[in-house]
Symmetry: C2
Subunit: 276 residues, 2 copies
Amino acid sequence: MTEPAPFSIGAFSRASGLTVKALRHYHERGLLVPARVDRQTGYRAYSQANLDTAAMIRAMRELEVPLDEIAVILAECREDQDLLVYLKRHKAHLATKLEHYQGLVGRIDQVINYEQEVQRVMQEHHGTREIAEREVEPVLVAGLRMKSRYSDCGSGFAQIAKRLGRHIAGKAMCLYYDGEYREDDADFEPCFPIRKGGQAEGLDIRTLPGCRCVTLVHPGPYDTLKYSYAKVLAYANDKGYEIDLPTREVYLKGPGMIFKGNPKKYLTEIQLPIKA
Amino acid sequence: MTEPAPFSIGAFSRASGLTVKALRHYHERGLLVPARVDRQTGYRAYSQANLDTAAMIRAMRELEVPLDEIAVILAECREDQDLLVYLKRHKAHLATKLEHYQGLVGRIDQVINYEQEVQRVMQEHHGTREIAEREVEPVLVAGLRMKSRYSDCGSGFAQIAKRLGRHIAGKAMCLYYDGEYREDDADFEPCFPIRKGGQAEGLDIRTLPGCRCVTLVHPGPYDTLKYSYAKVLAYANDKGYEIDLPTREVYLKGPGMIFKGNPKKYLTEIQLPIKA
DNA sequence: CTAAGCCCTGCCCTTACAGGAGAGTCAAGC
DNA sequence: GCTTGACTCTCCTGTAAGGGCAGGGCTTAG
């Protein structure tokens, strides 16, 4: 250490692994001030001691510690032990980010899975536009019964999804407890099939019984559902079936999670349980 | 939809959950252009249709999709299905970030653990400045034997740490195979205690045998180690012990992982194995 | 003498808005 | 008609940590 062994900024850049730009930036911020600066030319000259500081800054930057905090640490710490408290704080910060991204990946996965499911179901039901009778399997659902207007249905789905988003295992459905159409005080229950039983305040989690149903897939917007209902009710009447409440609608394809989509492409399955 | 039911920007902000600032920004970027803009006043008027787009943008922004990509999606997609490819791409991007932060948390954890260990060891050895004889336990190490200058030791540690960083389980040590001091072609082996056996190309992973040693903790910089060596060798000579190679140095406290620290505070344990 | 390689400062660019200044607009109350 | 308060407009600046480039100065080798 007899001579300061001055580095030019380029040489120091190679020695420290920091870019020239970064070095100038750190100089400006006061984090890493060169040992000497030529008054005439403005040329920076870095010393061996600068190299230690540079290594420290690099190590901290690799952990994404912000420059402001590095400045504080440089001002207050000489030893690694002094900065344990800063490191712990920063770790907590990183952990927060980590959780944040875990959450995002989880949510985007949900969306992707949901949309893939929609795609699958649409393929499956392609061309099935006939009235049919079939056995509907029992299914575990979480429902939220409402006496309200039909249009509030959407907010019901939103509430369920918010609380059980992670456990949703199928297409949204709605149960109708009125035997007839009502505008303002309809009695219905939006629900989602879920993966496993549990508790959720305000939600009714139970298994819908399986049953034999008259079914019809209705294509298009919801305001034309009544025509499909007319068809399927006429069919049931013809056959002399009595209908069990609640009736069900399954939204094979409705508004997406991101796009509302084109209502002409909506697919809704009407299920009328046949009284045994 | 007889009337566009125009929202003022404030009302639209409340309806959509986007800030006024954000709405103006989206307008400027062309993502969400209000249904009408008053020529005179510049007042924006938003429509019901705008609300759908706003919901879509909000959903995408919550997944941290960048605005540029949202613009592309808005230009090309009408249905959720169309954007599966974008979502998957974005998910990959998020997953990358996730891994990145996992790596950071892992590394900062290493640093914290290491420094806590240093702190513990320093407390333990506080005031122990006497020559002692004791049994040294066997220990599993990864070493990198070098014939070089002593000062290259550091790069040896760096190489080992880079490859086995995750498995390091104790303080850095160095084995010396020369019975005497050599400047340029010294024969020595930096090593780290590690957690479990394994393979690493170029590294010698093995268990150092336990042995009875004459030990002395040397405080201060490495260039004064020779005085401590003189003391401990004189002691061994007095007792008539013969010394087994390699001798060992354990760096209880040396330069930290972040700060170089003050050499006056360094603690180095010299271990001379006694030939049985 | 000139060309190459360094170095300097200063300006603009990146993301997705937030904050604020200064000015114009709107509806209601007096 | 005037005022008041709530709203709205545009424009500017700031964020983190530099990257990229322009225009110009320095030094040294051929």
